[in-house]
Symmetry: C2
Subunit: 110 residues, 2 copies
């Protein structure tokens, strides 16, 4: 799973959100680092819907503008959990190796 996809799923894990709200939540979540492109978002939303990881929660019209809210499905929740575990496991391995490196070579500026 790619980063944008993971972030979209995470955004929807918090609560039902419409597309634009996902963009904003991801931006905030990543400290401004990731601002999803509209093309990326809506393509991913369609794909995720096709995969059954998310579904349409409801539609609202606010100030004459449509808002389509999406929510995580059970499969989506499980998928996000699996992915999260993987991320953590990989981070732990990488961190361990980086730490070992510094122990062996860090102090000596070899």
């Amino acid at each position: 799973m790619n980063e944008p996809t993971f972030l979209i799923l995470t955004a929807l894990a918090g609560e039902s959100r419409h597309g634009y709200a996902v963009i904003e939540d991801v931006e905030q979540m990543t400290g401004g680092r990731v601002r999803l492109r509209a093309g990326t978002l809506y393509a991913a939303l369609d794909r995720l819907r096709g995969e059954g990881l998310i579904e349409v929660d409801r539609e609202e019209v606010v100030q004459s503008r449509l808002r389509r809210y999406y929510r995580l499905t059970g499969a989506g929740e499980q998928s996000l959990q699996t992915e999260t575990d993987r991320l953590r496991a990989q981070a732990t391995i990488a961190e361990g190796r980086l730490r070992a490196r510094r122990t062996n070579f860090g102090g000596a500026t070899a």
Copy 2:
């Protein structure tokens, strides 16, 4: 940074490795989940070398076969550390939201 790239960098963080050894290390590291394709690996190795994140450590000939060993550069090490921190941060956010979900809806089978 995509997953294969991250895993390659992690493999080289442990010690200098030649291409095929990277494939094996990544496979072991991910519990057999990820077996890098040769195409993916060597393309990534070239790209990473171009970006200055890795460099050729040495070349050996073992049983008439060339082995080109790669190692992480300082920039590569830093890049891996940054990426690792990001992974961990994202995992933490996702985990928090998943936990909150279960607290709110998990017990009720709503």
